[in-house]
Symmetry: D2
Subunit: 338 residues, 4 copies
């Protein structure tokens, strides 16, 4: 951490800062310039303290972080890529993993049809929401427990692991019985009560990026899960909120190489929620693989026109199968399989 | 809702749309232009349905809402301003209500000193966090139950109602025993499990705006609370995330008149979290009152340099008292008292 | 400037950085931590050099500015507030200056009526666009030379100085003959060719903030004008682009105290372009004065329903006169006159 | 255009709206709902009129566009993809075109070395800035005329067309003599005086997206060029400004398929300015091709450590050559060549 004093800061003010630094067990090195004094704080865990504690002191002008606020998710703590093992494969390895299925579990018929079709097309994990976080209280909120039962059925019938969203601390145990992977949604990325609960689960977690959270905040949220003992954290970029109004969310494709640079965790991409429209999903999915993503989370519905939730962004099984074929060549071009 | 068909959409495609509209019990009116057909959907509750259900149909180009997705929070449902009664006063009336106190309850000494000083300076409600949602798992998380006890003590000692944040569904009952007003924080504005739980509480709720949520989404979140039976919803603007990097969040001052235009709910402003720095708090607080806010939520700490959380944005009691005086003239200029 | 080396950076890499620093005539101070080496660059003009020149070197992890990239616009170079003198008054002094009039000059009748009415209501400067920057090539582009002639007429008839926009380097001389204040629009804030030309004019300049430019970029653009010799720079906040869709632009009200903190230049506020709708203009105008703005730039049209440009955001003369009265009390509450 | 009247709007108010619509030569169709009246405006050029002209009328609540404000750039006006012919190849065809070279022309030696190396690696067009728009007046502003001369030399020596930026209306003729393609920079995308001048040039134009402009605004700016008679418009996505702070600009990769959906113009991607750091350039470049871009504009410098401008985001010739090889497979996977 670097503390820049104001021009003309008094000796007393400088001493107060130095003493506060030392009270945390850190060392200082003084840089006395012609105009301003700059104090470097030397310590191994300065990233986890707010810059405010120094900026509030009299005579301080700026406080700048050199270390990141996250720790466990960083490459500095773990240099090698984390691979999250699942039944017979792993996420974060050479093979790109595709998770696909309907946004919401709607009925046995819908789920079984979807599961069979996405498996046939090459998906490795079945997605499907039982508990749905909806922006309006008047919208369909999911089948809840009945949805979990259907997911259990599909899982057994098709031998596919399932990923489903968790929205309430009280549901962690029940959902973990069925789900092979828990999903924390975008709007809950900074629901710290939920992160703490999910951090204690033994199930891997897909942590979706908050739609207005920085990569740094995202990795700091991952620290909540890792600090709780959960080693199976899978990051999922799903688009960020910007001023652009021709799509639902702007896919932050650069987040993929940025995550790879700063973190050891695997990162997958959800093109469906970013696009908001099925016609844009294939281009984003291809871009994600080309940029280095470890997997995809794609909405596929046997009959999007009848979907209760997010039909517009769902691929038909035919379009999904076509996309899977196109992704193959791109995966190979970047040294991966799919 | 207005459905614009693509140039050259077929009669079949148009008929499919019309049938779908009718399946919801609504009427259509056809606008057959020279180039495109536009279908107006006529019904009283079209705002609560996703535009996707029509946009996914073949031949549809655009679907545009005329009605808002929120209902109970809207002025159309309730034309007169809602006033939330508290012990001896109300929020949303002529008098501007100031809620002040430390970000986090840290100790008996700190809380009692703060409570006494903010009361003396004219604050009506004491704020103080017992459960703190922190972005890093390694930061101070609040005194929790012990914090609630101290709030109870301060409340009795100074005869001031208290507002405190609720972060977990499981805490609603316990917190409601002490808190006169519950607070739902910015990062939980779309935590629908929490909104549902708080909606059933009898305590009024300060619903902070998600830092990247639109006014429409905010009012739709308020609908969750209102639909649950909670009539005491108080909106709180606290700054939005933008590209600007000289402050923590950009205060969206225009949200105040916008809320007044579309909603009957009272709206207060939190200048502290937007500013991130005490030196900017007074200007924002004054602007908020001038723009028509019904109240303020301000962080005041007896000794900001020693604060465990957010010291940099806290006013000293002296600065707070000075601000309260300055606000008086502005309140009068806009026909209010404080 | 602070250069953070990567963990394990070699001695050679560190030396290369040190030599590059010295090649600019600056000194270094080394902070050799247990994990990382941090190099402080000591010099008085490091703010004007890109951080890239060091970040590109091998072994460098981060480069952080301590000094701002702008210089002439900063309070460090000039501590006292700049007051821009005009015929009989000044901008940036105790008196708040209101500039009002139609968005575009449309006809003699319209301009004279507007000028008379805004003067009567208390405006000090007449605004009116002769050259209009329009987002579509098919929109009305302004009366151009004819518009300047009408502004000259109004100026003489009512004895009011006029402010008008300049959109082309080639027009600086012609516009300067009539205009008492030149205006550089939001979309031209980083049109450096235009800034260079206007910097050489003797007329004061209203420099509108680019709708997606940071305060730092804005003050750096002001440096272009000041470096050219133009001392009469007046900053104008007019709203920034955000995700919020209920208004045209989000008024960044905090920019007012932020500018006052970092710069000596006067700052005014344009509530009309931010609001996009007349009903929101008064609240923003009041907030601006409460927050410390030195003036306002407001669109007033004798008949907004017939306006060729931006009628929706224009106040009627009656509404403008009412607003001027309401602003009086707020101005007095913050120690100003109007 | 769809005009929603307020609940309880009077017959007079409705009639005024209808008359105004008819004054533009358009027809109306009335949708009289149980609660609100909605008026559909039927005409072929409603997209080019501001919604304000109706929204300002009494009794009007909302006005919604059905038609886009741009016309000439739209697929509705021209269904087939535009291909911009250059000497021996075309932009917008099956072959992906790569434009590469240094950000700024710095010296004969630097430019010739860069030109030779990028040609060898497979680039088709040489990029290099002679006139540089710089955010600070104290930064290197380019070699100007001398830079043009060097570009002319490189062009002759290597037989490569060159693209260079134009920043001033007065330079259009001089730059057009040397440049095979003119470039309008991001900060000038809404410099309408410049667009008008460049629209009259016979040279193709790379129109970079304003870093905070929507796709709709971008295509409307393209209309300026097309309306001026310039048929060779090439769009260039270069990243947008968002809240994310780990990169310089967020690459809006979805803009590529969105442009392809709404416009017939070719679109290329500049990964260098978005990334701001060379290490992120390859991932973005690959994603762009996978998403369907027609070309790339990449900064390559023989010695980035010594670059006067933007060295950090420039690839070395070795890294560029490696990238070109990797792009080949991706291009083939999406049915293109490079």
């Amino acid at each position: 951490m670097i503390i820049g004093m104001k021009t003309g800061a008094s000796e007393d003010e400088i001493n107060t800062v130095v003493e506060k630094v030392k009270s945390y067990g850190w060392d200082v090195q003084m840089n006395i310039g012609t105009e301003k004094t700059v104090i470097a704080v030397l310590g191994s865990n300065t990233g986890q303290v707010s810059t405010d504690i120094f900026e509030v002191l009299p005579g301080v002008e700026t406080v700048t972080r050199i270390m990141k606020p996250y720790k466990l998710a960083s490459r500095e703590v773990k240099a090698t890529n984390t691979k999250v093992p699942l039944d017979g494969f792993e996420i974060g390895g050479k093979r790109i993993i595709v998770m696909a299925g309907p946004c919401a579990v709607e009925s046995e018929e819908q789920l079984m049809e979807a599961a069979g079709l996405v498996k046939e097309a090459g998906a490795s994990v079945l997605r499907g929401g039982a508990f749905k976080p909806r922006t309006s209280p008047f919208s369909f909120q999911g089948l809840e427990e009945k949805g979990l039962e259907l997911l259990q059925q599909a899982k057994e019938k098709f031998g596919m692991p399932v990923v489903t969203e968790i929205v309430d601390v009280g549901d962690v145990d029940a959902v973990s019985e069925t789900a092979d992977i828990l999903q924390v949604g975008s709007r809950n990325m900074q629901n710290f009560a939920l992160l703490t609960a999910v951090g204690k689960s033994k199930r891997p977690v897909v942590l979706k990026r908050g739609f207005s959270c920085t990569v740094t905040e995202w990795l700091t949220a991952a620290d909540y899960l890792l600090a709780g003992g959960n080693k199976g954290v899978i990051l999922c970029e799903r688009g960020i909120r910007t001023f652009e109004d021709s799509i639902r969310f702007s896919m932050d494709i650069t987040a993929v190489p940025v995550i790879k640079k700063y973190s050891h965790l695997p990162v997958i991409v959800d093109p469906s929620h970013a696009a908001g429209h099925y016609s844009l999903v294939p281009a984003i999915a291809k871009a994600a693989i080309a940029a280095g993503a470890d997997g995809l989370l794609i909405e596929v519905h046997p009959n999007p026109e009848e979907a209760l939730v997010d039909g517009l962004q769902s691929l038909t099984p035919v379009k999904f199968a076509k996309l899977m074929k196109e992704l193959k060549g791109i995966a190979e071009s970047v040294g991966r399989t799919i």
